[in-house]
Amino acid sequence: MSAYILSAQHLNKSYIQRSGRFGFTTKQVKALDDVSIQLRAGATLAVVGESGSGKSTLARCLLQLQPLNSGAVQFQGRDLAVLSAAELRQQRRHLQMIFQDPFASLNPRMKIGAIVGEGLLIHKLGNALEQRQKVVQMLKRVCLSEADMEKYPHEFSGGQRQRIGIARALVLEPKVVVCDEPVSALDVSIQAQILLLLKELQQEMALSYLFISHDLRVVRHIADEVVVMHQGKVVEQGLVADIYANPTQAYTRNLINAIPGRQRAANPS
């Protein structure tokens, strides 16, 4: 078996967009333009890039949540496109996603306990008691409480909802987690806590992460390798440390230089 747990070759994805003065004409826009990536087992690959550069599209296409125009994705050496619907459903347990928009991805009519426990139920992992224990444990690890299981999504703050999405993905002990801006709504303390949790789980069960983030400080902490996207293309990739030290693309250099408060950041001691 190869060292890559997830790999993708020559992914292409276009969207049809309404354009023109009255929106009657349409045009094709390439959201993914010949994108290839490889995720090493037990490692973290960050995807950074401008807003609209195709990161979330890449995430959804990798997990077959959205059809590709062309290209292939392999999980543990197996081509995902040739799996039957039932086989793909089985693999889902191991291929989890933390969505960029937490509220839109949580069913408003389900309680949090049911939302986080749903995957355990579907994949029949443990009996009811064990499932409940797993859910409680995971909620605690993302700084929520057992009492929160009885609440509905609208009763939480933005950052709390983001953590519900994290708990739902991680409770399944998957092999690959695609995290789309997973810590963007969290205060810096909880952000640190979640990043440490992701690292701990990686150590415990050799989890692999595809980590989409616009925050280069976060990427620096969590990722081994990084891919820089620009207008649907991968424009730069390599080890995080190398790219920070020697960005070859002007776009990457801008990203690094524009980190806010770089000069004036608070420096309490």
Binding site: Q17, R18, S19, G20, F22, G23, V48, G49, E50, S51, G52, K55, S56, Q100, D101, P102, F103, A104, H154, E155, F156, S157, G158, G159, Q160, R161, R163, D180, E181, S184, A185, L186, D187, V188, S189, I190, Q191, A192, Q193, L195, L196, H214, L216, R217, V218, V219, R220, H221, Y244, N254, L255, A258, I259, P260, G261, R262, R264, A265, A266, P268
Partner: protein, 281 residues
């Protein structure tokens, strides 16, 4: 220096449990043309405070007590009709989660145009031009006006909300994590746009963020919230460089550095609780 907004011992609780205060007697003021950043713990009541000023608290929540004085008018005493006239025109808000406030079945051009028609009576070509202009100001090509919210990326949706909020050139802009989905280059462009409006219109901003880099760049004053209370407030220099409250000190110690060399270390809540008890005693 004139005062634009003054919040006086505002408390918010679930309607079903009025004794469980989610926001606990908070008070602060915002001057004309200034920016106050609200920072603090996830779940500490920042968004609820912002929604209360907008008069948009959900029916399950209740404003238990307090006053919200805006241009010498107590907003908590206004009826829905009066509040609708102020909202979107004199006070506008960028919501934390774009998809909860964008209508999925209306084009984004239509949604940006709506407050312009309602409050300013813009129509026809003038309206079209203004919509195109607003989209371009937030870095979205004008031809995307025909797109629907689910055809946009996360950061593009957030920018549509920003365009909607500044459409009528409000005197008070409430921004709840407005740049969380934006990369630093687009974020810098948006912050510059807001700063220009601030200067040109003498606009004031109430800006909720977790990013202390942004706070350092834009704030005049900072309010720190923790468990429903304001634990500290003051000028940006005071709060960032000479924090007094143990929570503020602990929070600032978690700020990641640009080089990513500082180890990740969340707040030690056992230590913090002990410090707080010490303060209370």
């Amino acid at each position: 220096m004139s005062e634009l907004l003054r919040i006086e011992s505002l408390s918010i609780a679930p309607a079903a449990a009025p004794e469980r205060l989610l926001v606990n007697q908070i008070s602060f003021a915002l001057e004309t043309g200034k920016t106050t950043c609200i920072v603090g713990e996830s779940g500490s009541g920042k968004s609820l405070t912002a929604l209360a000023v907008m008069g948009l608290l959900s029916g399950q929540l209740q404003l238990v007590q307090g006053k919200i004085n805006f241009q010498r008018q107590n907003l908590t005493g206004l009826n829905n009709q009066q509040m609708r006239e102020i909202r979107g025109k004199r006070i506008a808000m960028i919501f934390q989660e774009p998809m909860t406030s964008l209508n999925p079945v209306l084009s984004i051009g239509y949604q940006i145009g709506e407050p312009l028609t309602v409050h300013l009576g813009l129509k026809g070509q003038a309206l079209k031009t203004r919509i195109a202009n607003l989209l371009e100001q937030v870095g979205i090509p004008a031809e995307r006006a025909n797109s629907y919210p689910d055809e946009l990326s996360g950061g593009q949706r957030q920018r549509v909300m920003i365009a909607m909020s500044i459409a009528c050139e409000p005197v008070l802009l409430i921004a709840d994590e407005p740049t969380t989905a934006l990369d630093v280059t687009v974020q810098a462009q948006i912050l510059k746009l807001l700063d220009e409006l601030k200067t040109r219109l003498n606009m004031s901003m109430l800006f909720i963020t977790h990013d202390f880099g942004v706070v350092a760049d834009i704030a005049d004053n900072v309010v720190v919230m923790f468990r429903g209370e304001i634990v500290e407030s003051g000028s940006v220099d005071q709060v960032l460089n000479h924090p007094q409250h143990p929570y503020t000190q602990a929070l600032l110690a978690c700020v990641p550095d640009a080089e990513g060399k500082k180890p990740l270390k969340p707040i030690d809540y056992a230590w913090l609780n002990a410090e707080q008890n010490g303060l209370a005693a």
